[in-house]
Amino acid sequence: MTGPSTRALANWDKPSRIPAGWRGERLVGKLLLGLAILVLFILFLLPPLTMAAASFRVGNLAGQGEWSIVPFIETLSRPSTWVVTLNSIVLAAASSLGALIIGTFLAWVAVRTTTPLRRWMTPVMAVILVIPSLFYGLGWYLVVNGKAAPVNIFLREVFGIEGSPFGSGWPIMLIVVIGYVIPVGYLFMVGPMARMDAALDDAARMNGATRVSAFFTVTLPLLRPTMFGVFVLMTSYGFSAFELPLLFGIQADIHVFSTAVYTTLTANEAIPNYAGASTLALILMLLVVVLVLIRGWILGGKRFSTITGKGFRPEPKSYGRVQWVFTAVFIVVLCWAGVIPLVQMVLGSFQPLFGVSLGFTTLNYEHVLGDRKTAGLITFTLILAAIGGFLAATIALVMSHLSVRGGRFIRFFNQAVSWAPVAIPGVLVGLALITAYLPVPGLRNLIGTPIMLLLGFIVVVTPIATRAVEGGVLQISAELEESARISGASRVTTFFTVVLPLVLPSFLAGWFIAGIGVAGNLSLPVLLSSPTMQTVAVQAYDLYRQGYASEAAALFLLLMLTVGVVGGIAWAVVKGGLRVLNRTRHSRIERAITMKGRVAHV
């Protein structure tokens, strides 16, 4: 340790005109932060802004050409615009509501009752959550479309109804979308439900409430702010849904924002109607902004809506034989949200010609595997998923950490960054990126390269990664970092020695979920990728459109299989690596301790 006198000398600063916070390493820190904010602004906030501006320009390229309000007015005065808006609101709100009700109920069952299988609910829901929507959608598509679809066989054999009466339209679309988001609702609600003090329920019972009325008069009202918050969150995500409405809506002429934009842009017209598409996007943006504001208002600026202090355990109570009904509900949801589409995809991939005849063949796999492109396709997708997921999770981690410890501006900026991409209809993200990056030197050259695709994916999945990572960051109390600072660690050292090890599980989860998001995403590459750099999702969708649904299923299953294998291996490597690292760390210290002991004895 240096003596106080040398320290005093070393530290003797002459009074400076520049405030302490703007000198030396803190200036470097501020510059780095400024740079990061600039980069994030260009990546995340510029696209929605330029897209909004593009609503008022007429030209061959999005965001270029004459300023004009004509296409904007024209789009707004077209009734179909408002039909699309209404459809989007109905689909998003109805599916969020349905999923939230079922999810909340299951969360309650999992935490507060002694229902059989309740311990399996959370892990199962987490697994279902990572099924890409296109894969899930194609699975359901195969269940209800075509001659060999199980539903149609049943209808034909029992009622003599031909065709695919439930192939598309509102009922099936709602069912499929709700099934897809139930795990989201469940996972959002299970935490707050578990933090709720069971004594509040008991108090209601002691005051004359029955079990049922206690649930409705105490449990639910207490959770209402949380539920509103989750509902708003899910609805705003629901607005930009693309894959499922594409599969189940378009045939029945039901359009939502994303699909309307997609058809507007791919329509065989001489000039794509960019302004019209952007105007649609503008409406969506407005809706999302309003919802985010409502969410902030409902949660009242609280970061957590915690219902209890500490030390409470929600005591699960037995509700008697009705719990078997709860188990049945869980199994039905499990089939609905995961098993049915998954099984159908597996079966479908072995069907010779989808929708025409039954029987099993490995021909689809032979085709897919025989195609020289397949290996490259899967590798490319996986690399994109791994890198994109990692970068998105990293951005999410750094941003969440900064906003938890930082000031109001950083918090607001973080909010904006993690929400802005949600406000762009899926398919438009690619277009918005091109429009935004075209004027930026350096970024301009990236257009058309895989890096552009990667950037796009990062923008799309960062909000998802943020939701996964920020919980972990919030759990680290400020004092853990402060004690590191007092112990002599700089901000950066503190981040790497204290914050990172503690959020690692959340970070890895965020990486994995974001990676899956990349692998299964169709809306971005469908417009952004060129024939030379396709992802599995695009290829599978092409196969499906050309009528080779079974091959699409096979291709997708291969991707999922690879993701599973690669993910599993990565998991084992990380876990094993950490364990080895820990053990060497410990044994080094233990060795040192025993050595010291020996010295002492000698």
Binding site: N11, P15, I18, E479, E482, S483, R485, T493, V498, K596
Partner: protein, 392 residues
């Protein structure tokens, strides 16, 4: 180890003025406690000294070294201030073992590995946790965790030790134990220490000097004995347990005696000048304060004497509290609280009922007087510790 000087420290949180100009000086090796209710600014003061909070203005010097000066625009980051801190919530890192936790500050200060392990084991031996060296720090019990936090704070032999209510999360039975541990480590290393608490007994036990804080102001500084028996204002008096405060006016100050008239009853009385925590002059409005436990209740008027005060009153209420009887006695418009020990009440209770006349008697050296309206404190040159600013 080194001294600590804080000058004219202000801290605003938006509109809230959390510290209203704190001046304090802590000598080398001194153990000073900031005592006050929650929200009085004591923790904020500590965090400003640690560098975890940026003051709005003022100057902080640790030893020879200025770590914060709003005028010279100096602000040293917390990791460069060479302090150790013990947090209320222990703030132990869940991913590290006990020995790794204690080695962390040594590692950050570039102490060689072998040396770091040696020192970590040494300090673990001192706090009696050597057998837990390889356990995760958060798997220990509360008292043990706080001892780990203590060891982590002192292991790098910081210039200054800061304690932020380190005992308030512990069971009462453990507090005494950890308190002894803190005193032992303090005696061992002789590190200059600043301790924050709202617990009077804790402050009395640990400190060389106590500074009482209220609403962002330093109210009084003194040895535990001084604070306990000679409060200089109403807030400190109430805080250290003077239940009875009687308003009075000084009628005469002569030699070593102060004569005064009680406002409510009009009675006059005299006390030795040593009863005053700060000097008073004729005409001052003062408070005459004493603890309920120090007074006696009599059924008849006690014999008068210079060394005592006596008040006549009517018993309003008697509360039986087991180990003592608590009387409310109305005397000339003021309500006095007097506690009677078991020994005394066993003899008297039968004759005493609400409505009866009683005399309250108290020894003069157990009475404290201090001015009511604070006159600007006489700035004795470089007092070791002073109240700051004026009341708003």
């Amino acid at each position: 180890m080194s001294s600590l000087t804080v000058r004219a420290l202000h801290k605003h949180f938006g509109d809230f003025h959390a510290i209203k100009g704190a001046d304090l000086e802590v000598q080398e090796g001194e153990f000073v406690t900031l005592l006050g209710e929650s929200g009085c600014g004591k923790t904020t003061t500590l965090r400003c000294i640690a560098g975890l909070e940026s003051p709005s203005s003022g100057r902080i010097t640790i030893g020879e070294r200025t770590v914060y000066d709003s005028q010279a625009r100096v602000e040293v980051q917390p990791e460069r201030r060479d302090t150790g801190m013990v947090f209320q919530s222990y703030a132990l890192w869940p991913h590290l073992t006990v020995i790794e936790t204690i080695m962390y500050p040594l590692k950050r200060r570039r102490v060689q590995r072998q040396e770091a392990i040696r020192r970590a084991l040494e300090i673990l031996e001192i706090v009696g946790l050597a057998q837990y060296a390889n356990r995760p720090a958060t798997s220990l019990s509360g008292g043990q965790q706080q001892r780990v936090a203590l060891a982590r704070a002192v292991v790098s032999r910081p210039q200054l030790m800061l304690y932020d209510e380190p005992l308030s999360n512990l069971d009462p039975s453990l507090r005494r134990q950890v308190r002894d541990e803190i005193l032992r480590l303090h005696a061992l290393g002789g590190t200059t220490s600043v301790y924050v608490t709202h617990d009077l007994e804790e402050a009395m036990h640990l400190s060389d000097r106590i500074i009482v804080m209220q609403a962002g102001l330093l109210e009084q500084s003194g040895t535990p004995g001084e604070i306990f028996s000679r409060p200089t204002n109403e807030f400190v008096a109430k805080f250290v347990g003077f239940e009875n405060l009687l308003a009075a006016t000084v009628t005469e100050v002569r030699g070593d005696e102060i004569e005064f008239r009680l406002t409510d009853s009009g009675d006059t009385a005299a006390l030795p000048a040593s009863a005053a925590g700060r000097s008073v002059v004729k005409g001052d409005t003062i408070n005459v304060a004493f603890r309920a436990a120090n007074a006696l209740v009599h059924s008849e008027q006690p014999p008068a004497g210079a060394a005592r005060l006596a008040f006549r009153g009517i018993i309003d209420r008697i509360d039986f509290l087991g180990s003592r009887n608590e009387y409310r006695i109305v005397s000339g418009g003021s309500s006095l609280r007097v506690a009677e020990s078991e020994r005394a009440y066993r003899r008297h209770t039968m004759h005493r009922e609400a409505g009866a006349t009683a005399w309250v008697e108290i020894d003069a050296d157990l009475v404290s007087i201090f001015p009511v309206a604070r006159t600007a404190p006489a700035p004795d040159a470089e007092a070791d510790l002073v109240e700051i600013g004026s009341r708003e």
